[in-house]
Symmetry: C2
Subunit: 390 residues, 2 copies
């Protein structure tokens, strides 16, 4: 790309409207996601999407990538909470799409099309958000499970039980050990020791929410489902402490060798075990310390390979591992991006598992809304660049 322009929306920081009694908020694209959540909470409401690093994220970026997070399991990704948006469309006109009404079945879902389009179809300048009443109680819980295959069975039993946890996350023993020192609870000893346990235990982070009565009932059910699989009884960390700790995980893992290459891939949840084993194999083949964590309920896994960024050879192997993890997701009937979009690294894999008609439709949409290719050029373009190696 020559002559590219980077547009910063950092100064679009205004909260244009907040109507808590109607569960609505209208904010400009540069407002911090953490501030959106805080404003909702201060008014007895929640803005459920909770991608990591919300203090550093702008709501516009979260909408443009349709970001997920632990609570997307029950509440859906960012786009599910956007009822309208304002965007600059090519060649440079301001458009308002959708509105504050809760339902609209009149036109095509241009709102949904712009959500997650990563700036390639238009530039979001403001979003009309839906909020929800805050549950009276949110109870985070942690289960330690001895091995991967038990964890896969436990996951399927939770889904099959009729429980609907607000969040259903996991970390493998290697990921857990890297942050065990700051864990707000008492893990069984074997979970605090190093990454030699690759392929060993699994930690489930589960949040139940609802009224106190509802949470009690769910907890009893969950206890029964998990009982046969647990290493130790369900632990209850202090409410906000668990997710704060979880949010710090990225940094903890990156610091081990100075860097990491991590993909957010997605597979059907019944194939998580298979996917994780294959990720370990990849790491072993390429001699890279490996760990995996993610959103088990949604089948999203962050396949993470730790690298010394000062070593070009290691970095190269990291990129290789990462690329191969994308092919792996597709081979298991999954997606190359569960929750954070495609960006630059994954772009050659976009569309690798689509049929010809879908690739064509995707291209036609881009050409229709950005005929001169001005918006975030080269991104979100199926089968751009070299075809996948595999």
């Amino acid at each position: 790309v020559h002559g590219g322009v980077v547009i910063s929306l950092e100064r679009l920081r205004r909260v244009r409207g907040l109507e808590p009694e109607l569960w609505r908020m209208n904010v400009e694209a540069g407002v911090n996601t953490a501030d959106v959540s805080r404003l909702a909470r201060e008014n007895g409401l929640i803005f459920p999407p909770d991608p990591g690093a919300s203090e550093q994220s702008h709501i516009g970026g979260n909408v443009a990538t349709n970001a997920g997070g632990p609570h997307a399991f029950k509440y859906g990704p960012t786009g599910a909470w956007v009822s309208g948006l304002e965007a600059v469309l090519a060649p440079g006109e301001l458009a308002t799409v959708g509105s504050a009404t809760r339902k609209d079945a009149s036109g095509y879902d241009l709102r949904g099309l712009l959500v997650g389009s990563e700036g390639t179809l238009g530039i979001l300048t403001a979003v009309q958000l839906r909020l929800a009443p805050a549950p009276a109680l949110a109870l985070p819980l942690v289960a330690f499970i001895a091995d991967l295959s038990s964890a896969q069975r436990a996951l399927l039993e939770i889904l099959g039980s009729g429980l609907q946890p607000a969040a259903l996350d996991f970390l493998d023993a290697a990921a857990f050990a890297l942050a065990a020192g700051s864990f707000p609870g008492k893990p069984p000893g074997e979970f605090t020791r190093s990454s030699e346990r690759d392929g060993g235990g699994v930690v489930l982070l589960i949040e139940l929410d609802g009224s106190p009565g509802e949470v009690d009932e769910q907890l009893a059910e969950l206890d029964q489902v998990l009982g046969p699989y647990e290493e130790s009884p369900l632990q209850r960390p202090a409410p906000s402490a668990l997710w704060r700790w979880r949010d710090g995980l990225n940094g903890a893992i990156a610091s081990v060798r100075g860097g990491k290459v991590s993909e957010d891939i997605c597979v059907p949840p019944e194939r998580l075990e298979e996917a994780i084993h294959a990720v370990y194999l990849l790491g072993a083949e390429l001699s890279l310390p490996t760990c995996v964590w993610g959103h088990a309920g949604d089948g999203i896994l962050h396949a993470t390979f730790m690298v010394d960024v000062s070593s070009p050879a290691e970095l190269e192997r990291g990129l290789q591992a990462s690329e191969r993890s994308l092919a792996l997701a597709l081979s298991l009937g999954g997606s190359i991006s569960g929750e954070h979009g495609v960006g630059y690294v994954k772009r050659t894999y976009l569309g690798a598992d689509w049929d010809g008609a879908t690739v064509a439709a995707h291209r036609h949409v881009k050409e229709a809304l950005d005929p001169k290719g001005l918006l975030n050029p080269g991104k979100k373009d199926p089968l751009a660049g070299s075809p996948p190696a595999e």
Copy 2:
């Protein structure tokens, strides 16, 4: 349209896959929506969308119009439950969009674009549906409220209270009186008498769901919120009886004068009272018996004018009233279709409240995916035909 072709998908009736333990179902477009719901229920799950006449609806049609229903208040419209779909795209290729994975942030949301496109962008042949665990208890409740302005305040208080009912529907006294004979409960006397009470009382149909404990807690809260507004204590009809009765309402109302013209418009919920008054005024001006009912929580109202279909003059006035109700919705910041799409009658109003850039983007999307205009021609075309009269 000359030489039009009608494509029937009635023979696409196969359930391709049902994985209850993974909350998934894959069905062809011609499967009855009632059968989808029944299959889910028989497996301890729910398919939450519940547009009327599910025995006569095909799931493909419900997806193509992104149909709503009472439970869309808590659970969202049909599109929220579609994770993937199979469609024939122009000029005639089969495409699979999305999949069974619960999250996918990789490509543009072509899935969402086809949902609600009313056959103008592609022909749906099969859909991959998400299901949800069935709540242990669903408790339908009925509140009788003396006048419209109390009902508006009660609605806002319910929303402001932090309650999240599964459904929050309403009928005005006129609509209620027309079906009072078969109501599964004991309405206060004044609600059973005729449509002279236009502008009089309002009946709220509310469903609470969750675990028994959760429902109890919500009920106590709801009782407290509604207490000052109610004519008589909250009534509890037999579980399925209320929605079966509600589903029969359309027929009951149509039978009064042989026909009716009814629009499904949508306004911000805080403007329902204003909208309903304006609908009454329209009916009075055009000398048509009028009633209003709909989904209060979502601000959706079915503005209904009863007509003798054998009288051309009356039918003409009915269409006039209906058209003016669309303009009314737009003037209140709402939408011309809350839940059933645009179809033929409303087509001249589509886009009447959009800015130029949005109209252009909408047209470009149609041209991109159906360049020869083969698919459901003339429909879903913003500002097609004559501009709104107003």
